[in-house]
């Protein structure tokens, strides 16, 4: 049963053109998978109301990356509402209309205008070899831009395994000397690894941040609400593992019956993330459901430590 506060919240959203059904579905997913409370959502509603005058500024930097995490964010069911009405994306190379000089000007102005107040979302790893020569934007190295922008943010969220820990760019032998944000410049960051990160985890983090909720994190800088348990412990195939029922061939009857994928190389026991419960693309699926082992993509250095992917570790 909904409280008055919730009813009012949805009405406000609808006035802003956000479909109640979309948002309700979305919040349900958030609350169910992340332990976020309706009161939290309610407070965010107040934040959104208060933000009618000014929405929280977000500066989104792209470094050594594949844009997969931006794409994942764009798969959020009402991403238009988030971009136009909830936050203000001041700089984001993939979606912004301005290019070249005008784009650079936007970044410069936003950092100046929101100095110490903006949220910096970082996607991609930072090249550090040869003074950062292997990655540049507007003639400046990723490293220069990182030093210039990140220390001036109120909070930094490193999305995806690349921004968090270097990711694929840092896989051995790492010719560009790629590193995650904290390793590259020593700045603290909330790490949301995954390849790509689950957009629910980003939204959950932003909601908690807007709500001034404390963010408990593990030793790798990952919020516990999303990364507190292993994929294995949340896996729908867990009971078969406990019964010693293991699939040994892809596409087999055993995989279909839900047998454990450990013998096929699954890295679920060593991987901390909420894929089995949060799932992807509006709760459609996640890799283990699709019959493929977990490759450990939210663990630091997984491209080296978790490979070969199809061998039991």
């Amino acid at each position: 049963m909904k409280t008055d506060q919730q009813t009012e919240f949805y009405e406000n959203l609808e006035k802003k053109g956000v479909s109640r059904r979309d948002f309700l579905k979305y919040c349900t997913a958030l609350t169910a998978t992340m332990g976020l409370s309706y009161s939290c959502v309610g407070k965010v509603a107040e934040q959104i109301e208060a933000a009618a005058a000014q929405r929280p500024a977000v500066i989104w930097l792209h470094f050594g990356e594949c844009t997969g995490c931006s794409e994942a964010f764009l798969r959020t069911p009402d991403v238009g509402g988030i971009i136009l009405e909830t936050i203000s994306v001041e700089y984001h190379e993939t979606i912004m209309a301005a290019s070249g000089h005008q784009a650079e000007q936007n970044l410069h102005n936003a950092v100046k205008q929101y100095d110490g107040k903006f949220v910096c979302v970082v996607e991609g790893a930072i090249a550090t070899a040869h003074n950062g020569a292997y990655g540049k934007i507007g003639g400046r190295t990723f490293l220069d831009i990182a030093w210039d922008v990140i220390p001036r943010a109120a909070a930094t969220i490193a999305i995806g395994s690349c921004a968090a820990y270097g990711g694929v760019a840092a896989a051995a032998p790492n010719p560009g000397g790629y590193k995650g944000v904290t390793d590259a410049i020593g700045a603290p960051a909330i790490n949301l690894p995954g390849c790509p990160m689950n957009p629910l985890n980003l939204l959950g983090t932003i909601l908690k941040y807007l709500n001034n909720e404390p963010m408990e994190m593990d030793g790798y800088g990952r919020p516990l609400f999303a990364y507190g348990e292993s994929v294995h412990d949340r896996c729908p195939r867990l009971k078969h593992y406990e019964n010693f029922e293991f699939a040994t061939e892809f596409g087999s009857k055993e995989v279909e019956m839900g047998y454990c994928l450990l013998d096929l190389g699954c890295k679920g026991p060593d991987t901390y993330n909420n894929c089995p419960t949060a799932k992807f693309n509006d709760s459609t699926s996640f890799p283990i459901q699709a019959g493929h082992p977990c490759i450990g993509c939210s663990e630091p250095g997984f491209w080296d430590y978790m490979t070969p992917f199809y061998e039991e570790t």
Partner: protein, 545 residues
């Protein structure tokens, strides 16, 4: 010497791209395209397990997700002589088809549209007139109320003073020609498409576990056995249908409506003579009977057969040590292991310059349309003719910025239509008890193979050599490298550089026209710059856990 204009970063693309042009008498006289980042995925692959390669290469790009993984498993399957089950072929086609639908819609509305659509002008549109415009041109007309709501939303947004992604663009530029009402209609569909694409991506999640970076391909087939249920197929079919309706009723009508105001652009942004398509969507065996045929056009409209032996990459103008142009199997690349200098007279990009029989070749929707058209592919021919007739232009209009953008829409329809037959095939196979999706196999000690596909941005090929059951050499030649690569040893420019020459530039401080042609190629720079092996012949030792 004319005036130099530098645009860096080029936004609304994937990756880090710098474009420089020289403008004289209001037109581009010369152009340079430069990739500004590399990571070096190929060299990471050396010494690793060939089965793992598709996971690495898929991370070349999250926009063109899936497609590198597909090339990679095809290459390893070729090297290991594996024939995948028919259901695996169908499911791979469905995933690939879904990528075409998603990618092209996002490109048109979210990456390209703002080059033609002035969002600020939409604020002064009359919602009633917009409704009657949409009644005339759109398959999904909106009411005045609907357009007023969207306009109010935009006004609230603009009045907030926080323009976010729309800040500081070229609004009001004289090259924007749409009436305010057409701008409002397009802006409304920009928002609709944003919602639709999130849904369309679920087609990947159904058989691939997630999007981006679906995870159900393996060498030998696919893994999604638990999703071969009538309910899952219905779910897929429903989303496919909704996506197709959007394409037919909104995307294509918008494309034609916008194009009708920009017919000048049917004479700008061409200039290429060689067009290359590998073709894709096998309807029986892997290499037989492709929905989109492969072939090469070299200066005329007679399609020739593809010969992959004629593919080379030249590194003269890239930041690499000097070396001769090589075929991917012999690919040898040595980047300058130091700070590099951007110099348009010498070396200016991280991209290599792929060549076919020594020629720079355009790849992508236009190349595919031209090859299919000249090969007499009925679906493509019919739609191309329809578009040309509707716009009242001749076939020469295809060789342009506008032609390239129209070609993308045309193949979205062709591939989208074909997906229905693959869904039916899969359904009937399952109904008669055939759920085979994986062919067990054993890794040979040695092998060589390549996997070709034609992906939303163009012809993609991966070449692998296996030795002692590990990757000895791995090279891939990528669509955006073909299209956005630099000049070569003979000073022959890349396709985008060629296309920019002659482009009018009304205001050098706001080079909107440059963006139109560059975006018409849908650049993806993370894909384009993935190569490098600074330690030639040195094989990285795999860490054994």
């Amino acid at each position: 010497m004319g005036q130099r204009i530098l645009i860096d970063p080029i936004t609304r693309i994937e990756g880090h791209l710098r474009i420089e042009v020289e403008v004289e008498n209001g037109k581009v006289k010369d152009a340079w395209s430069s990739g500004q980042m590399f990571r070096g995925i190929e060299m990471m692959l050396k010494g690793r397990d060939p089965r793992d390669a598709h996971h690495f290469v898929q991370r070349s790009c999250g926009v063109c997700t899936y497609i590198h993984a597909l090339s990679s498993v095809r290459a390893v399957e070729a090297a290991c002589n594996i024939t995948i089950p028919d259901n695996a072929r169908i499911i791979r086609n469905l995933l690939h088809g879904a990528q075409y639908q998603h990618d092209h819609i996002v490109h048109f509305y979210h990456l390209h549209a703002l080059d033609w659509v002035d969002i600020v002008s939409a604020l002064s549109a009359d919602p009633v007139k917009t409704a009657s415009l949409s009644e005339n041109v759109s398959g999904r007309p909106g009411t005045a109320e609907y357009f007023r709501t969207v306009q109010d939303k935009l006004k609230t947004f603009v009045n907030s003073g926080q323009l976010g992604p729309f800040n500081n663009a070229y609004w009001g530029h004289p090259a924007y020609l749409l009436p305010a009402e057409a701008n409002l209609m397009a802006a409304s569909h920009y928002l609709e498409a944003l919602k639709l694409q999130a849904k369309a991506a679920r087609m990947h999640a159904i058989f691939g576990g997630k999007n981006p970076h679906p995870q159900s391909l393996v060498v030998g087939g696919v893994t999604c056995i638990g999703d071969l249920t009538p309910e899952r197929l219905d779910e897929f079919t429903q989303i496919w249908k909704e996506t197709k309706e959007f394409v037919d009723q909104v995307y294509i009508p918008d494309l034609l409506a916008v194009a009708s105001f920009y017919k000048d652009w049917a004479g700008i942004g061409g200039n290429n003579t060689t067009y290359l398509a590998y073709g894709d969507f096998p309807r029986k065996g892997v290499d037989d009977d492709l929905l989109l045929p492969g072939g090469v056009l070299m200066g005329d409209l007679t399609p020739r057969s593809l010969d992959t032996n004629l593919i080379t990459e030249d590194v003269t103008r890239g930041w690499y040590e000097p070396g001769e142009a090589r075929h991917p199997y012999q690919g040898e690349t040595r980047p300058i292991p130091a700070e590099v200098t951007y110099n348009t007279e010498d070396k200016y990009s991280w991209m290599k310059a792929p060549r076919y029989d020594g020629r720079s070749a355009e790849v992508g929707p236009l190349a595919r349309n031209l090859v299919a058209y000249t090969r007499g592919q009925k679906d493509v021919k019919q739609l191309v003719d329809h578009v040309l007739t509707t716009l009242g232009v001749g076939t020469e209009a295809l060789f342009s910025t506008l032609g390239r953008t129209a070609a993308r829409g045309i193949e979205t329809v062709v591939v989208g239509n074909a997906m229905e037959s693959w869904i039916d095939e899969l359904r009937s196979n399952i109904a008669r008890g055939d759920k085979e999706i994986y062919q067990p196999w054993i890794m040979p000690d040695t092998g060589m193979g390549y996997g070709l596909n034609d992906v939303p941005r163009g012809a993609l090929g991966h070449w692998i050599e296996i030795d002692k059951k590990k990757i000895k050499n791995y090279q891939y030649v990528v669509p955006s490298t073909w299209n956005l690569g630099p000049s070569d040893a003979t000073n022959q420019k890349g396709p985008v550089e060629n296309s920019l020459i002659g482009t009018p530039v009304a205001d050098p401080k706001q080079p909107l026209e440059i963006l139109r042609t560059v975006h018409s190629y849908d650049p993806c720079i993370a894909c384009a710059v993935h190569v490098i092996d600074p330690h030639t012949n040195e094989t990285y030792k795999v860490r054994v856990i």
